[in-house]
Symmetry: C2
Subunit: 398 residues, 2 copies
């Protein structure tokens, strides 16, 4: 993987954009002249955004698809992860001939503000002080993340996205894009998400944050300076969260009560059951690729998300007059962002007579189904994007 530093606005040569960046990380410095005003009232800038692109931007710059990643995702959407070496988190969805077809679309995915994979976040250096941000990093929101992405699009010379798409926290960003920049979004696909974070989901996030912040190695957020790592706390946070990404039927099918490398119960506190061993593995590998403070900031951004609140408590007002085509997708066994939450998005869109399709995919795989190769899901995305693309081509003309 190569990283190119790209500090100036790219010129209009779309082939050059594609050639420079396909399957390799790019970093852009944004908000250098004018800092980004955050929802909290603080300002941030200059900051770096790390992103990946796949495919080529058309001459008319009309084929850009922005993919928004989830809480622990990043911009390595269809290429191998630089730390784990694993395939990109949506590799089965993004590529030549796949639903998000890189022979047709110019795909962009940026690490979110507050992240830990190259975009400015709490583990990076604060240019104002020369020291690691830590908890001096300002608390950011989903709208802040989206505003930073909009600056990236400005930088890339892309006025209008063909589509913005994402699941979970990615879906929150999709909704925020459609609300904040309706004229820049031709089509929007919020998947397995909600227009506001529920009390139960805030509660689960709070458990994770408490696990991190009570780990003595966290050092009040100063662990990078003090040379420690709150590995145990972050692992526990990940374990708790990971359960919520699955479903009881999926866990039962995958592990049931089967024992791990033993014939009978151990009568101790080692991992007797496969499900325990699996969870411990999820926790311990996560800490190798994720920053604990980023976990605090990004969960907080999700907790704070409440799109209706910014529109007088009426969700449909967020979408008043929208011309965007929406496809809302939920999964039957997702109990983190259940169908009912996704349906509130559809109801709000219906209330303003927006163009919206809604599909609930039958699966036992829980919330994580949006990351998996679910045939009905693949068919849904292929169908929606295909017909939206035909409409896009008509609207852009020959």
């Amino acid at each position: 993987m190569s990283v190119s530093d790209d500090h100036t606005r790219l010129n209009a040569d779309s082939a050059a954009i594609a050639a420079d960046s396909d399957d390799s990380e790019v970093r852009a410095t944004l908000a250098a002249a004018t800092p980004l005003m955050l929802e909290s009232g603080a300002s941030l800038g200059p900051f770096t955004v790390a992103y990946q692109t796949y495919g080529r931007l058309d001459a008319n710059r009309g084929n850009a698809v922005l993919i928004c990643h989830a809480l622990t995702g990043d911009h390595h959407v269809a290429s191998s992860h630089p730390i784990t070496g694993k395939p990109g988190w949506w590799h089965q969805m993004v590529g030549p001939g796949l639903p998000i077809d890189t022979e047709r679309y110019f795909v962009i995915c940026a690490n979110v503000l507050g992240g830990c994979m190259g975009t400015t976040g709490p583990k990076e250096i604060n240019p104002a002080t020369g020291a690691v941000y830590g908890l001096d990093f300002p608390v950011i929101t989903i709208a802040d993340m989206v505003n930073a992405q909009a600056l990236l699009l400005d930088h890339l010379g892309i006025d209008s996205l063909f589509c913005v798409i994402g699941g979970s926290m990615g879906g929150m960003q999709v909704l925020q894009w459609a609300a904040s920049y309706p004229e820049r979004v031709f089509a929007a696909v919020p998947i397995a998400t909600a227009p506001r974070h529920s009390a139960q989901n805030i509660a689960f996030h709070e458990v994770g944050r408490q696990a991190i912040m009570t780990d003595p190695e966290w050092r009040h957020g100063r662990y990078l300076v003090e040379g420690t790592r709150p590995r145990a706390g972050l692992a526990v946070a990940r374990m708790a969260a990971h359960i919520t990404y699955l479903s009881e039927p999926a866990l039962h099918r995958k592990f049931g009560r089967r024992l791990q490398n033993r014939e009978k119960l151990g009568y101790g506190f080692e991992a007797d059951f496969q499900v325990e061993s699996y969870l411990r593995h999820q926790g311990s590998t996560f800490v190798d690729r994720f920053d604990a403070n980023s976990y605090l900031y990004i969960t907080r951004a999700m907790d704070y998300f409440d799109l209706a609140a910014a529109h007088g408590g009426v969700l449909s007002r967020a979408f008043a007059g929208t011309a965007t085509r929406f496809c809302v997708v939920s999964f039957t066994s997702d109990w983190l962002f259940p169908t009912a939450e996704n349906r509130t998005i559809v109801h709000a869109l219906n209330a303003v007579a927006a163009n919206v399709s809604f599909v609930e995919i039958e699966t036992d795989k829980g919330h994580d189904a949006f990351l998996l190769d679910e045939p009905d899901f693949v068919r849904t995305l292929t169908g929606f994007l295909g017909s939206a693309w035909a409409a896009r081509c008509r609207s852009l003309g020959p």
Copy 2:
């Protein structure tokens, strides 16, 4: 509250039992002559069982009701808790004129083996060494807990229980009682429980155990000797578990996204939302009344519970030939022990033509509904116990 030490088998004067123990804790030393053989193969004895009784034992000793408590419950079922000062955990269900009517029944509730409220567990002194057990305490199972309770009944001179009743882990004990001692159980009421712990529930327990065991203050279980307390880890364990006891609708109704003592978001990591503040409170108060090692042992006992496994994998065999009358109760919004799990008990009982009623209570209060004053639940228990008592009186004769 007075504690009486009661080291010898009580005489047959039932009035004396009642007078000695009503509304005050009693401790009995059991297995002094012959240790209790545990499922692990280890043996334990002598050990102490702390218990409470309410009401008076009839002359024919036929009116005893054994209440089995849940994971973090104890024997203070209808009298104030010695640490928190709060009313007993089932005070609205147990008392004069209440469904478990102490004017009719002699009610017994014992702190489980491995517990931390007076019964022998990891925080007590190992008589063999004179030191605190800690992790030298043997891993115990639901069957071990029930066998210890059976020794307590022997000690009290009670051959046959009118009823054994309990919710959650208490319900597991009820099922184990019915399977292990069918001739001693006239009626059985397993509530909000399962015949085996599910993969998802094992996973949640493992998160809690990891939170405790990775707390440096845990000291490999030797915190009592070393003068520390794994408060942070135990609090996180409690917070994660507490979410599973409720339901999203209940959390939404109770807290929604309402802020705690503030007008607007704090843009920090303090408890902005009421649900965060509530959870933190649940965690911090729990550590004042519960022992971290007990939490490990009791969650392990629940994980290990698999009643069918002890009967060739066929659950109905656990109940073959039973004459016990069962009433199985579940709650619609309980996602920890959902109705489907409770139904497997009913199916197994049906397969052996047992006398069983099954009631699913409509409520949005989640698993904890069994601890609350749910009118339909109260009516169900009153009705079942009333008709079972009439049958009991017929069977015992005048």
